[in-house]
């Protein structure tokens, strides 16, 4: 029992700061998924995909991460905890996709084919394919799962679709090239990418109630995990605007070069943001707006944070570089806090594409092979 206090403090030390969250980044122009360790800020694995991955989400039972490869017409299912590719499914052009809050529907927009597909969520059976206006982009549901709202980028419109009837109910002009849309406290908020603001829309009739200036190329909006704050990305002015979710008052503006796009949150509340035009992601401290960047693949788009206590173990039989002789299996530096030098650099630094710390991504590692011989799996298809 003499060693108990020491053991306890060691355990606390290890458990406290060492949250090695796993960050999934979809490299849309590189046909791959980068996995970043949040403590070392290093790429620990790269999963190859067929063509062009854009968005990802958890399945309703939260057991699988579903990645849409729109160019490859494929859904990739990954165990979020182990990063193991469980299976792949043929699927028509999965661009932006969301499950309805009640878990009954999966709606998928097909930007290039001008169609919106409504699927039965559990079986992923196509219920209806709606031909809609030019470039259906993002979508959002009403909390009661009765309606889905889709932005039509090429038609300046927002389209409301009744999910029970599976028919459009109204469409309304909301601004030039609308992109992201979310439901926020009884209203729809739409990012107006061809202009410089968000539009606030009444979901009952599509009436435009107000516009709020944020910055040129306002793209999409993400609520914070506690729902108190909204973060909106503007691509041309390359900034993140921080809004009070209740009043929609702009509380802060963070200039982050590189074209911020999608945002995910880690358990500490930090923002992980894909920077579309510079092949990097940014980690932003919500208290200060200070950002640090990490290199990933080309044109990173969707992003997801899997909370973990420990770093991802190496792949069995994977072609990882050999561990130096004498080094223990659990590497102490994996658990050490990020060194001071690796902490953030101020956002909006004059050299936009230079990182605060140059973190070299690890060698791409092939995805784990599926069990059985390839021809057996092929025959079984």
């Amino acid at each position: 029992m003499r060693h108990l206090p020491a053991a306890l403090s060691l355990a606390l030390l290890l458990a406290g700061p060492a949250r090695a969250n796993l960050i999934y980044v979809l490299n849309s122009a590189d046909a791959s998924i980068s996995l970043i360790d949040s403590t070392t800020r290093e790429e620990v694995r790269r999963i190859p995909v067929l063509r062009e991955v854009h968005h990802l989400l958890l399945t309703p039972d939260r057991s699988e991460l579903m990645v849409g490869d729109s160019g490859g017409n494929e859904l990739i299912f990954i165990d979020p905890a182990t990063a193991e590719v469980k299976r792949r499914e043929r699927f028509s052009n999965p661009y932006h996709m969301e499950y309805s809050p009640d878990g009954r529907y999966l709606v998928v927009t097909s930007l290039r084919r001008d169609q919106v597909d409504i699927y039965d969520a559990p079986t992923r059976t196509l219920l209806t394919r709606l031909r809609v206006g030019d470039k259906p982009s993002h979508l959002a549901y009403s909390p009661d799962s009765r309606m889905v709202y889709v932005t039509l980028q090429g038609a300046r419109k927002l389209l409301a679709i009744d999910l029970a009837e599976r028919k459009p109910v109204w469409s309304a002009e909301v601004g030039s090239q609308p992109a992201g849309v979310i439901w926020n406290r009884g209203r729809l908020i739409v990012g107006i990418m061809g202009s410089d603001h968000i539009s606030v829309v009444n979901p009952a009739d599509g009436k435009l109630e107000r516009t709020i200036y944020l910055g040129r190329g306002t793209h999409t909006i993400f609520p914070s995990p506690d729902g108190q704050t909204l973060y909106a990305t503007s691509r041309v002015d390359s900034r993140i605007s921080v809004l009070d979710a209740a009043t929609l008052e702009v509380k802060a503006r963070w200039d982050i070069p590189g074209g911020p796009d999608c945002i995910a949150f880690d358990p500490d509340g930090k923002l992980w943001v894909t920077l579309r035009w510079v092949a990097r992601i940014a980690v932003v401290d919500p208290a200060t707006g200070v950002a640090e960047t990490i290199p990933v693949g080309r044109s990173p788009h969707g992003i997801f944070v899997q909370p973990r206590r420990e770093p991802l173990p190496p792949l069995p039989n994977a072609a990882l570089p050999p561990r130096p002789a004498g080094q223990p299996a659990v590497e102490p530096e994996d658990l050490a806090p990020v060194p001071a030098a690796a902490q953030a650099a101020p956002a909006g630094a004059p050299t936009p594409v230079q990182p605060a710390v140059v973190v070299r991504p690890a060698e791409p590692v092939p995805a784990p092979a599926e069990p059985g011989r390839w021809w057996q799996r092929w025959m079984a298809r």
């Binding site: 084919r113 061809g194 190329g217 074209g259 990097r280």
Partner: protein, 318 residues
């Protein structure tokens, strides 16, 4: 190509394209109300800059070689300048942009139609699952398949009279240098894009995630036209098309349907289909006797016009 150089190249490339896009391209697209094309513009910027880099690399490799061991002295600099116009038009200019816009929308329509009918277009990786786990191997297979397609397109360019009328522009050059690679009639380029794009639609070509390898492929093709006395040896000649191998294809006796050495990258196709000439001592004069003089020495516009005229005559049976 070790991991470090690939990575430094990728990082530097992302920095340059990102800066250009954010400072010049995106603000312009925003001002023109074209933000929904921003992602395509980003892709195209990549393509255009990559073309520029490709020309620079080809120049740096081929020019010293041409100075070192030329096959023939340069007598007609004007003819070379015309080829340079072709190169810049093809690799940076409007032509790839038109092909890109046309084929991208064609592809989504084709795939849309297939999904409507309940089918989804396959990719080679789905047909041969081992390719999934090695992106490099998959890429190599795509290159082989597409190169095979190019061999047969080239055979057709020589075999059909109306197509030869266009392709003769490429062969009319008597002062062949590495710039001659892109010397093609605009309609010939469109046909090539449709052919290549068509095969790409069928097998689902992967995105350009191998910039360094693509650079090497373009280099090999330009080098095969270079004015240099160079072959790759007994074995090398059978693996990759050399300046010697391709100059024989451009020889005056090889024009039209009488041709040899059609391969673009891999000579194995000529080997298999009996059209190879392995004579390593031969460096014939180039050109296409019997074609309009405008095709050999005219400027870009005159050559284009001559191509259309000849094609019309061929189609009319004259």
């Amino acid at each position: 190509m070790d991991a470090f150089s690939t990575e430094s190249f990728t990082t530097a490339w992302a920095a340059v394209t990102g800066w250009l896009f954010e400072t010049l391209v995106q603000p312009a697209f925003y001002a023109l109300g074209l933000m929904d094309w921003a992602e395509d513009a980003y892709d195209w910027l990549d393509f255009g800059l990559f073309g520029l880099l490709g020309i620079a690399v080809v120049y740096l490799v081929c020019r010293p070689l041409e100075a070192w061991r030329p096959v023939e002295p340069v007598a007609d600099r004007r003819a070379i300048r015309t080829d340079m116009v072709y190169t810049f038009l093809a690799r940076l200019g409007l032509l790839p942009l038109i092909a890109f816009v046309l084929l991208a929308s064609l592809q989504s329509r084709w795939e849309g139609w297939l999904t409507e009918t309940g089918l989804l277009p396959p990719t080679l990786e789905e047909i041969f699952p081992p390719l999934r786990h090695s992106a490099l191997l998959a890429f190599a297979v795509y290159v082989v398949v597409l190169d095979f397609g190019e061999y047969w397109r080239h055979r057709a360019q020589h075999g059909f009279r109306w197509w030869w009328a266009l392709h003769a522009i490429h062969h009319a050059q008597r002062q062949m240098t590495f710039w001659t690679d892109d010397r093609n009639h605009i309609l010939d380029d469109v046909l090539a894009a449709l052919w290549f794009g068509g095969i790409a639609l069928l097998i689902g070509v992967p995105p350009g995630q191998f910039p360094l390898i693509l650079l090497l492929l373009r280099l090999a093709e330009s080098l095969s036209h270079a004015n240099v006395r160079l072959d790759y040896g007994r074995i090398g000649e059978r693996l990759v098309v050399s300046p010697r191998f391709h100059r024989l294809h451009h020889g005056v006796l090889s024009a039209g349907a009488m041709g040899k050495n059609y391969a673009v990258l891999l000579p194995v196709w000529d080997w298999i289909f009996g059209t190879a000439d392995w004579n390593r001592a031969a460096y014939p004069r180039t050109g296409a006797p019997g074609t309009d003089e405008a095709m050999a020495t005219g400027g870009w516009l005159r050559q284009q016009w001559a191509g259309f005229r000849r094609m019309a005559l061929a189609l009319a049976g004259r």
